[in-house]
Amino acid sequence: MNLVQKAVQHGGKLAPLVIPHGLTSGTGLMNPSIFIDNDGEILVNLRHVNYTLYHAENEQLFPSRHGPLSYLHPEKDRRLVTVNYLCRLNADLEMTHHAKVDTSALDVEPIWEFVGEEDCRVIQWGGEYYLVGVRRDTTTNGVGRMEYSKIEIDRENWTVKEVSRVRINAPEPNDSYCEKNWIPVVDKPWHFIKWTMPTELVKADPETGKCVQIFVKPTIAPPADQRGSSQVIRWGNMYISITHEVNLFKNYLKQKDAIYRHRLIVWDQELNIVGLSQPFSFLDARVEFCVGAAVHQDDLLVSFGFQDNAAFVLRVPQKVVEDLIMEALSNEN
């Protein structure tokens, strides 16, 4: 049973996230990141891309010209461009406001094909709001680094402006090709889980971008490599986060194809992993991706993208979360 079905069956709610076509030309709205700020506002960063993911599932009988999985960007523009919208939701998870994040003050000419800050998690640290995602357009070969994008929100007019941008180094020797999906630990300012299993915690300075490793802790051997998805959030006297795993395979053209599944991870107060749930999907699509989680009225709000083309927030009732946690704690993986 997928998580949407289970959550709704127990009194949860699914909310599609849609921005008017006039702003997006209908291309993908994906990988939303939900966050509840210090004033209790429900914020979501919604990623808009200039492509449509074409993914033929099942027997892959109806592929695109480029194969069963392809990113269909404009034919005269090979770039995969991301812009971000910061949205405000009400308690019923209806979108009441949306504004494109104005990055114009800090933009430089991109020099690689993946343009913009991707899969941003929303966070509020030191009283400031940040989008923290990966940017790959600053080198000619697509080196990816996480970035702090500090934003200012004008709540009256609902406009959002990027006011500073700091590229975060990887811990020394800082020679990796692509760093992405570092997940913020919401109640530990400037700290990220850089790697889940084993658990690597790092701290990144928001002014300089300098990053240091705080610890690497051994964990049980994961049944599949667990990668960062949602923020790490408090749940009672523990931490939880949602991770993803990717089952890579070659399709009939020998192209890379994938099935994504997620798990709930339970951490103790010292960020030792103490539980890992069974894998689950949101809606049984092959490509789904969770980038956000937040506690709201004792329930868990989880935001996820469906095939890079649609975005949703799911209210998961407390009981379902507790069941998942129990499953994780008793899982002998």
Partner: protein
């Protein structure tokens, strides 16, 4: 029905072609074409064995969604060609291909697809409207294309036939406009 309820229904039976199709149609109504494409493709992939009309209509609608996004013409034609290959006896995909080539001024292709479409059998209605009003729309495409490939008398003849028919007002006007314009040109 709202997208929210349709997706919740889908979550209970996520590979059901009809439920995927319903979600796709609703997203398309809101011009959320990327979202619609995802669910149309799922309809086709999970429905091709037992739901031929849904599968065929989904391929045509996916083409329409990509067309709406602009500058994805290779994908538009690919979806239409897949529909032709899937149910080659239905006329709708031939019509849409003819229309596709009409828009880009590729008149021989337009004429050819319209002509092939006219040789298919009338079929039951699709579960969603795709712009195919009846066999006369293929005649119209053929008439327009014929003018540009040196078959001017054939073009006028077909337009006169269409003018005498009871057809949808948009087509009626287009036929009259074409006749008015072309009648003033030396054949």
């Amino acid at each position: 029905m709202k997208i929210e309820q349709l997706v919740v229904d889908l979550s209970k039976d996520p590979f059901n072609p009809t439920l995927n199709f319903d979600v796709a149609v609703e997203y398309e109504k809101q011009n959320q074409t990327a979202s619609a494409v995802s669910f149309y493709l799922r309809t086709a992939e999970y429905g091709h064995t037992y739901h031929p009309s849904l599968t065929y209509a989904s391929l045509l609608k996916a083409a329409h969604c990509f067309d709406d996004q602009n500058d994805r013409q290779a994908t538009v034609s690919n979806c239409l060609l897949q529909a032709v290959a899937y149910l080659p006896y239905r006329p709708e995909a031939y019509f849409l291909l003819a229309q596709f080539y009409e828009r880009s001024g590729q008149w021989q292709e337009c004429y050819t697809w319209a002509q092939i479409g006219l040789h298919q059998q009338p079929c039951g209605a699709l579960p969603v409207h795709v712009g195919y009003e009846g066999q006369y729309v293929l005649v119209f495409e053929k008439a327009v294309a014929a003018w540009w490939i040196g078959r001017k008398e054939e073009s006028l003849d077909l337009l006169h036939q269409l003018d005498a028919m009871n057809i949808e007002p948009g087509y009626k006007n287009a036929v009259k406009n074409n006749l008015e314009r072309l009648s003033n040109v030396d054949v």
